[in-house]
């Protein structure tokens, strides 16, 4: 350990604040590189309108995405969407994505708006996901986005950091979602509160960008401020495909010898599929302990697990099989690009033949937009939250698991270990 060695978060906040030698706990003003607002954009606009004489400093840094409630189910929501569209045109908002595009987090990465080393603030707690490309993403409130529109800066505390070294190989039927659920169960919902969570190790390096997204997305459920995977050749390939010019220009790597308040090493080789039980994400058990719980609905969606490869895993299990009678299987592709790819490759046909209901890309049932449950009903979801009442009745229940566990359970109608179906 050396005094001058720095973590990723220290370096990222130093770059964005134009300062150096920042110790954890210091509060500084940073100039974020991108300000994402999703369905909350209308709240940001209404707040902006309360500030007489305010102007927008960097409209090119604003990304607005109509993802949480889309298309509009009511006239009120249609009004919110319209307000955002008109505002985006009038003020020259750099990046506006309408109701057809999907989930903000996935779109911003697919469209080359997330670059290593940069700081992205978003009106969504799961903005930690941008760490999959070596960026510092973190969630903020809508007033903070408005304030940043006007001033170009926001206060941020330099966090302490935690390093999680992942080793070993995932056995068939086990996925990064299971790794994270196990970690959340072990560390509990505040196990990484206010920490920058760096993922490292051979298993992390072997993961696809989509799998790294799942790691960084779920870090939020430990309370992390942000998450990070060091950008490598795979990340740079992804960034090149996304059309990013000079993707390494702000890239940052943690120094060897940087100080971590906690270091964990996990060998995932013997890990079983995991399930988070109602009504907390840290109420986690191996799938074997909850197998047989009767389901009314299975939801494959959300920024955690509705990417193309997630849909492929579901299709592998559903191919030639049928969703159990009496079970509703909702599949909400994460983005328009994901949906197109799944249409072109035949994945969507496989899902439809099995009896799945395919919805438009977006947040869907995870944000309570469709897919609601009556009292006493039970959903197994691939999303990242199972809080009481999040999907309908306060007397309904949500279990969380990987896409493979979701698919296996959709076939049987009860929570099922995917390894039994894959065998």
């Amino acid at each position: 350990m050396t005094e001058s060695a720095k973590t990723f978060a220290q370096k990222a906040i130093e770059r964005a604040s134009g300062s150096s030698g920042l110790a954890p706990g210091t509060i500084v003003e940073v100039a974020p590189d991108l300000y994402m607002s999703h369905t909350a954009s209308w709240r940001c606009i209404k707040t902006f309108e309360k500030l007489p004489g305010a102007t927008i400093r960097h409209p090119e840094r604003i990304a607005m995405v109509m993802d949480h409630i889309a298309p509009a189910p009511t006239a009120q929501v249609a009004g919110h969407h319209r307000l955002c569209r008109e505002f985006a045109r009038r003020y020259g908002v750099g990046h506006f994505f309408d109701v057809n595009e999907g989930i903000a987090h996935l779109i911003l990465m697919e469209r080359g708006l997330i670059r290593p080393g940069e700081i992205i603030i978003g009106t969504d707690s799961h903005s930690t996901i941008y760490g999959a490309l070596g960026a510092l993403g973190t969630g903020v409130g809508f007033s903070e986005i408005t304030a940043t529109w006007v001033t170009g800066v926001l206060w941020m505390m330099v966090p302490e950091s935690m390093r999680v070294t992942l080793a070993g190989r995932l056995s068939p039927g086990v996925f990064p979602k299971d790794v994270m659920l196990k970690l959340i169960g072990d560390l509990t919902a505040d196990g990484a509160t206010y920490l920058s969570m760096e993922f490292d190790g051979a298993l992390t390096a072997s993961m696809s960008i989509s799998e790294r997204m799942t790691l960084c997305n779920l870090a939020m459920e430990l309370g992390a401020k942000n998450a990070y995977v060091r950008p490598d050749a795979l990340a740079y390939d992804y960034l090149a495909t996304a059309g990013v010019e000079d993707p390494a220009r702000h890239a940052l790597l943690p120094d060897a010898g940087a100080r971590y308040v906690r270091e964990l090493s996990i060998d995932a080789t013997s890990l079983a599929p995991q399930v988070a039980c109602p009504h907390a994400v840290d109420n986690v058990r191996p799938v074997g302990e909850v197998a047989g719980v009767k389901l009314d609905q299975v939801f494959v969606g959300s920024c955690a697990n509705a990417k193309y490869d997630d849909l492929v895993e579901v299709a592998k299990i559903l191919k030639g099989r049928r969703v159990a009678a009496g079970v509703r299987l909702l599949v909400t592709p994460g983005s328009r690009d994901t949906m197109k790819k799944a249409a072109d490759s035949g994945v969507l046909s496989t899902l439809i033949e099995a009896g799945a209901l395919i919805t438009n890309p977006g947040c869907g049932a995870c944000a309570g937009d469709g897919g609601a449950m009556d009292q006493g009903e039970v959903t197994l979801s691939t999303a990242n939250r199972n809080f009481r009442g999040r999907m309908g009745s306060y007397e309904s229940a949500i279990y969380l698991a990987s896409p493979a566990t979701a698919a296996a359970s959709a076939i049987t109608g009860v929570i099922t270990d995917p390894r039994e179906v894959l065998a």
């Binding site: 004489g53 707690s125 903020v140 907390a280 009442g389 306060y394």
Partner: protein, 172 residues
Amino acid sequence: MNERGSSLIGGRCVKLGDHVNSDVIIPGRYLTSIDPVELAGHAFEPLGREFQDRFRAAKVIVAGRNFGCGSAREQAASCLVGAGIQAVVAQSFARVFFRNAINTGLAALQSADAEAHIADGDEVFIDVAAGMIETPSGRFSFPPYPENLTRILNAGGLIPYIARKLASEARR
């Protein structure tokens, strides 16, 4: 200011446990509003009417670990302001809730010890500047806010703070 002549805030408290999440504080279905008073009517709906009635009579929320975890929804803080809550005292806060509280002018005070010594319905008074919580079972201290966050809190939140800054820049 209260009758004692100090800048105490607070009053009767209502108690909650660990990991109270923002979906429970204000369910997602009500996020079509940003009016704190309207939102206050739906705050803690998943916990039922009896709790909601006690909550509405309170001035302070006292909770355990990780209060406000989950969604970044700012309404989780503003709905409490709309219900007349002046402060939340907790063992610890989720990061985004802590930010949202300051930014909506709600005092979020972290004390490792106070929660265990406060009973539901106790009168709890807080001196934010001095870092002191007064309860029937004694006084507890908390680390005062850093100066830059104090300025935001004292302005009544981030947007009033920015408005004040813009106004002073316009006068220059």
